[in-house]
Amino acid sequence: MGKYVFKRIIGLAALLLGITIITFSVIHIAPGRPTDLEAQFNPKVSMEARERIAHLYGLDKPLHIQYIEWLKRFARLDFGISFMDSRPVMQKILERMPITLTIELFSIILILLIGIPIGVGSAVKEGSFYDRFMTVFVFIGFAMPTFWLSLILMDFIGVRWGILPISGIKSLEFEKFGNFEKIIDMSKHLILPVFVSAFGGLAGISRYMRSSMLNVLKQDYIRTARAKGLREKDVLYKHALKNALLPVVTILGLSVPGLIGGSVIFESIFSIPGMGRLFYESVMARDYPVIMGVLVIGAVLTLLGNLLADISYAAVDPRIKLE
């Protein structure tokens, strides 16, 4: 097990290097220099000043030197300073990350808790009214644009009916609340974002679970289980379910980038100060250090998600030998 994890981590280091190369290339091969923008914020900046800034960021050096220097700083988790407010990029990201991760974590839990039973139920009752109803629901889930769903929920639940707050993660008078009220307040703010974030994934996982379960139910060993005279309950929820759940672990790992990517949309709609919104703001302001930082961190989070998925897969599937 230890050796397997070690090997995986070496592989990850290589991927990480690739990630930094792509991030760096994307930013530097495109036309326009970062300094153009900083200068735009402050038109008074003279040519001389511009060059000084360029020098400060090492922009006057050849690209590969720039990359290596950036990489060195990256190794120390130093992503530089934001153009917008001159704060360290890492600090800004760390401030925002917990909010996004909390929302993602809750939505993954929601996806699993609801999606898996829906999928299993559909497969077990294939062709029934329930199955067909769920199929329609799943297709609606796939097709629903997150931002439209957010707007509708905001309009009805937030504006018209005033059931839930629609902006930010805490109320204005948050500081006056007691601890318990604080939790309630934040939960209320998080309900809609978590729901919206989970909605598409819910459809995906339940559909995947359904086809995985259907596939398992066709296998010879299910026939064996029935021929052994096991209770139908044991055939379905012991013999079939364990096999059907295995591939879902991998899918979960693969869905991390989608979830993180999706955060841009609902965080900017619900004004949630998370990583997605930070990224959106820095893109609009062309705040290069922050853009690069979030890109790399986003990719690293995906890497970690995949690693976790692979390790858990190897741990639960006896056919994978950990060497």
């Binding site: 062709g127 296998q219 010879d220 060993y221 026939r223 064996t224 289980a225 029935r226 021929a227 052994k228 005279g229 096991l230 209770r231 139908e232 044991d234 013999h239 364990k242 096999n243 295995l246 639960v316 599937d317 006896p318 056919r319």
Partner: protein, 323 residues
């Protein structure tokens, strides 16, 4: 009589693939069911404990086991027969064993008495020649060779001391040398436990080596039935004759006589009259009138052919008939 199958018919989506099968199995007797792919022999085997889901296959007729009609039992009563009184061994041991449960666990599920489980399992493993894994509770099916997997399947099948074991092509997926070992194991267990066996196979040589009585199936019906000796010494249906004469062997080199021409009909396009008519070398116009009934030729020997008495005489000679 332990098992009596009477006028068994099974249809998949309005297409009948078992069209009225009669078969009896006595205590301690091994009945072989021979037929080519798609003749309905596997369906017969599965029907014995109603393993074909009702929404897929329509079953009618009677299957009397210990004087109870299995087709009329409720699911709970069926469970008490499956695996306990009638058990199965299927063709592909690898896909018939659940990959995510240990061999121990899969055998344990079959045991009724839950005391001294490990002793019980050890005895079962010993009786099927799996002494190697006694005490190794963490062995999964994929860690065993094909032959050992099939031994484990057989172990599961005999775990609760059934009176009837249905073996559906149990050696087809195995190499010849392993095939022989498994057949020897089956014969040994049969004698030791006084098992009744329904042995389904496409391979005449294997069935001839193990069965007491043999039924030959063609297009969903048994076309000839008799003791092994009768079938070998005086096959009476043109199909049986063709099959026996098609067995290639060193003894009659480079000259296969009485080869059956054409191919088996589709169940959706069965010919009128005798279903073997289009491929039969002995056919006469009479054969087209109606499908022949099984008729007695001698004691314990039946054939579904109107020409039975004349056929044996017209069979082409073969120099060294080995079987």
């Amino acid at each position: 009589m332990l098992l009596q199958i009477k006028n068994l018919k099974v249809g998949y989506r309005n297409i009948e693939v078992v069209r009225g099968v009669e078969l009896n199995i006595d205590k301690g007797e091994c009945v072989g069911l021979i037929g080519e792919s798609g003749c309905g022999k596997t369906t017969v085997g599965l029907s014995v404990t109603k393993l074909i889901p009702e929404r897929i296959g329509m079953t009618s007729g009677e299957i009397l086991f210990e004087d109870k009609n299995i087709l009329k039992l409720n699911p709970e009563e069926l469970r008490n027969i499956r695996g306990k009184k009638i058990s199965y061994v299927f063709q592909e041991p690898f896909s018939s064993l659940n990959p995510v449960f240990t061999v121990y666990e899969q055998i344990r599920e079959m045991l009724e008495k839950k005391n001294n489980i490990y002793i019980q399992i050890a005895e079962i493993l010993k009786s099927v020649g799996l002494e190697k894994i006694i005490g190794r509770k963490n062995v999964y099916p994929h860690e065993l060779s094909g032959g050992m997997q099939q031994r484990a399947m057989i172990g599961m099948a005999i775990a609760s001391k059934p009176s009837l074991v249905i073996l559906d092509e149990p050696t087809t997926a195995l190499d010849v040398t392993i095939q022989r070992q498994i057949l020897d194991l089956i014969t040994g267990l049969k004698n030791k436990m006084n098992l009744s066996i329904l042995f389904i196979s496409h391979d005449l040589r294997i069935v001839f080596s193990i069965a007491d009585k043999i039924g030959i199936m063609y297009a969903g019906k048994i076309v000839e039935y008799g003791t092994k000796e009768k079938i070998i010494s005086s096959p009476s249906h043109p199909y049986t004759i063709g099959l026996i004469d098609s067995i290639p062997s060193f003894e009659h080199r480079k000259q296969l006589f009485n080869v059956i021409g054409g191919k088996a009909p589709l169940f959706s396009e069965l010919p009128k009259g005798c279903k073997f008519y289009p491929r039969c070398r002995f056919r006469i116009k009479e054969c087209l009138k109606k499908e022949p009934e099984l008729k007695d030729i001698s004691a314990d020997h039946f054939s579904r052919c109107i020409l039975t008495s004349e056929i044996a005489a017209r069979r082409l000679p073969k120099q060294n008939r080995s079987i």
